[in-house]
Point group: C2
Chain length 289, copies 2
């Protein structure tokens, strides 16, 4: 088993337990708590919290409850973004990870509010650790109008807009904002938290940039390479709905090539760091290559 | 003119200018910036930022650009809550302050995202000042599942639920969470920011609790006392829609009496503080008494 797999098998249950326990104990209203937990505990890969923890590991920082809390705060924020993206007014998805989406299960107002509750709770968990001001600055920028929400806006604004279909610069920017920003923030917060040296910070952020970009291409490829059943959500949906992404821009073969180039780049960026666990995240892509 | 009116006339244009200028300069995408600014610049009274600044004034703290930025961060967050409350799945309001609501003007996805953008941007502005960790803790708790969003959830969950119509405890809690929490946070953040003594903090928080509670009663009373035109939004709407609030619980006369009692309480809480400006906020209620 690779160092990454050991790491993942060690920490995924710790993350899952922490999320389940603290959503139950820290949210006063049992119904809201249940609606929030339904989506948070829906079987996500915990990619972003694991990235945060793996970056701490790379920097030789011990992982304890305060670090788990920050990692889980990132997952709460990621889950909020999924719930809102699935809403009828947005991507209008009925299923995610093989389960009904929040608004299909609980109602639309409930889903909007579950997202609205997860975002500040996630920021609160992140803000309670050391380096609070810097971490809050990184996370709020990553998910705000110049980050994730900005990307989602470009997405809805450009859906069925033929004029951006061939615009690689626009598509790159949209995908970076939608997905890359929060991935980079997960690594960057760990670098700041563990007080990485300047040279370590540069390497880690470059790694995060390549990984974040590659992850969106991977996510688009999964959509066509896997069947709907395996991916746990409606696949082949982007093209039907007039979505523009790297895949619709480049096609499958060229997307795979770009993904391979980004994997090489990301590995290069880890040179000179104790980056065995972080490099293992790139193995995730094997199934679409 | 009262000290409060001077204070309000001094600082309201400063708040308005700061909001307009920084939404334009700090949000990269011009369209999102415009959608966010449409609601932020829709003629709100700036009650919460003025409360933050007036509390600083009470504590003898100088007001400069860093303090204005925090005050405006609170207003961004308040505006996010209004945009989401007005959505079709929530209160389904077409007008607010005499203008089309965000989703009527720009579309539903755009309104959801404008709210989703204003919340982290507001927290970012608040987090950039001194006492960052404490202020972020106060604001995220105030607007999270145990605060404002929790109140909004109780509201939608209890609409047309006859069993809570006479439940004073439930209605008090719902109204406190929906409105009181963010008002209290505005005062509490100023107290922490200006390093108020323990005794000053207790007095200010008690004032904020009485003021926050009274403000919701006032807001419900405006709904029936003023005409739709004057209030700038649909009035008499709560009763028609099966909403439960202090007014539907107590009726107009008893609500007015409770409001008067709270005004007296709030004034008492300011005893021994340089609270002339803060006390002036209570004059706002004259028009419904």
């Amino acid at each position: 088993m690779t160092a990454f797999k050991y790491f993942k098998e060690d920490w995924t249950p710790v993350i899952d337990d922490y999320l389940a326990k603290h959503l139950a104990s820290e949210v006063d209203n049992q119904k809201i708590s249940q609606i929030m937990a339904y989506s948070v505990m829906a079987g996500g890969k915990r990619l972003r919290p694991l990235l945060f923890l793996a970056t701490l590991n790379t920097l030789g920082r011990k992982i304890d409850e305060p670090e788990i809390r920050i990692a889980c705060g990132i997952e709460l924020i990621h889950t909020y973004s999924l719930i809102h993206d699935d809403l009828p007014a947005m991507d209008n998805d009925d299923y995610r990870r093989g389960k009904l989406t929040s608004h299909k299960k609980w109602g639309e107002a409930e889903a909007i509010l579950a997202g609205d509750a997860l975002l500040p709770l996630g920021i609160q968990w992140i803000a309670e650790g050391s380096q609070s001001a810097q971490l809050v600055n990184i996370i709020t920028q990553a998910v705000g109008p110049n980050g994730m929400v900005g990307g989602q806006y470009l997405d809805i604004d450009s859906t069925n807009n033929a004029s951006v279909a061939g615009d690689a610069k626009f598509i790159n920017q949209m995908e970076w904002l939608k997905t890359g920003c929060l991935i980079q923030a997960s690594v960057e917060m760990a670098a700041v938290y563990a007080k990485a040296s300047d040279i370590e910070q540069v390497k880690l952020i470059d790694f995060a940039k390549a990984f974040g970009r590659s992850y969106q291409i991977y996510d688009d490829l999964v959509d066509v390479v896997e069947t709907s059943e395996k991916a746990g959500k409606a696949t082949h949906k982007d093209k039907e709905e007039g979505k523009n992404n790297t895949l619709t821009l480049l096609g499958i073969d060229q997307s795979r090539k770009e993904l391979k180039d980004l994997i090489d780049q990301a590995k290069d960026n880890l040179h000179g760091l104790n980056g065995e666990v972080l490099a293992g995240f790139l193995d995730l892509y094997q199934k679409v290559l």
